[in-house]
Amino acid sequence: MSGPRQKLREVATVAATALVALFLLRQSARHPGELGMLDRGVLAVLSPVQGALSSVGRNIGNLAGRYVDLVHVRTENETFRRDNIRLRAELLEAKRGASETARLQRILELRDSITAETIAARVISVDTSPYFRIARVTLDRGEGSVTRGMPVITPEGVVGRIDRVAGSTADIQLAVDPRFAIDVFLPRSRGRGILRGKAGENGFRCAIEYLVRGQPAEVGDQVMSSGLGSNFPRDLPVGRVTRVIKAGTNGLYQEVEVTPDVDFVRLSEVLVVVAPPPAADPEANPRRTAAPARGVVMYR
């Protein structure tokens, strides 16, 4: 008698798990980016582990690179091996320090160049699933001031936008995610279109849709953010045209493939644009002419 009962219990458990998963899906579709108490709790436990593993991984990568260099030196000149080892190690250390300083310097320069308020964040993981192009970051400060939809940038260009936040951890929907869209223009031809992420055969690629054929794009054209229809600052580099797929003779639009300027694999620090720039005070300097449209548009 216990056989059929046991089987029924098993089937009921399977059905219950499927139903709970469907319920979670429904909630995600209704309130994208929102996390419950349990999700936040689990993320609070997982994020430090993820961050620690990422840090260990990077250190191992640095060590491996250093080891390869040391082996190379040894084969090159056995006599000066010890000196070479020391000098190379010092040089590598100095280079690493210099590149980190330069990277942070560029982040600071970008921060100064845009008038909007920004928060720095450190990347702890990128792209765990090929179907969801997401990077996870920990915020240096400003916990609670980051919300869904805020733009994320680096000195190289547009990174993406905030997808969901849990405490000091935030997920960025990268510009190469198929769900991402931003209004862009090509400075050379003044053509405008919508840039969308392109998950697929080539990895990190985007495509511009609705680019009118009258303003032909060429391979190598720079693509910039237009600042329209979203909260991204204007004139931020997005990427370069790598392929132009001509539409049919009757087609209105041309399809263009874009390679982002940002190297998403090597992403380490980013800036989150948390607030639009302060409004200009008309009384402060009445003679001054209006500045060209640049900066962050108001949030919707």
Binding site: A21, L25, D39, Q50, S54, Y131
Partner: protein, 185 residues
């Protein structure tokens, strides 16, 4: 106990996978480690149908949190995959390199397509983009399946209290040998 230890192993695999990929010089596609853990449980006769489903749900849910996917996408897909794999085991004995790799390939293929279909329903703006990657991910998952499943089998063998009781685990054997050597004059 078994579910908890398997979930922890799955979580570590997923986190390690993300870290190792970060070190890779070029952007790569990784094997679907979550699916492999689910397959391991589904192929094993020691796991009941319900515990396989619960494990699949928990692993999927954690993968959703780690990967930043909308909550429920992988949880739902992994439950479906677990049931598909269990159904497969009623018709086929999945043993050996070729059969394990083949079954993992099919499961990863199915999982990839399901993830994209579910994603298109949850956030339609993404469409069905990424279908081209599914066969490649399936192939890589298939190649990695035999060693990872073997590894999981070894780990579970060491943690299984039933096997410890009957003295099949190496740790238990070693402890008994050690105790016997201590008793000798």
């Amino acid at each position: 106990m078994r579910i908890v230890s398997t979930v922890i192993i799955a979580l570590l695999l997923v986190l390690l996978q993300a870290t190792v990929l970060e070190l890779a010089p070029v952007q790569m596609i990784a094997p679907a480690c979550g699916i492999l853990v689910v397959l391991y449980a589904a192929f094993s006769q020691q796991w009941s149908l319900s515990s396989v489903a619960v494990l699949a749900f928990v692993v999927g849910y954690l993968f959703d949190l780690v990967s930043g996917a909308p909550l429920g996408v992988h949880a739902f897909v992994y439950v479906m995959i677990s049931q598909f794999a269990r159904l497969l085991t009623t018709r086929l004995v999945v043993r050996g390199f070729v059969l394990t790799a083949g079954a993992a390939f099919v499961a990863a293929l199915l999982g990839g397509v399901l993830v994209i279909v579910v994603r298109a329903q949850v956030s339609p703006e993404g469409g069905y983009d990424g279908l081209g990657q599914v066969p490649i991910e399936g192939l890589i998952t298939g190649l990695f399946a035999p060693p990872i499943l073997w590894l999981l089998n070894q780990i579970e063998g060491r943690l299984d209290p039933a096997r410890l009781r009957v003295g099949l685990a190496r740790r238990r054997r070693r402890a008994l040998t050690h105790a016997a050597s201590n008793q000798r004059p």
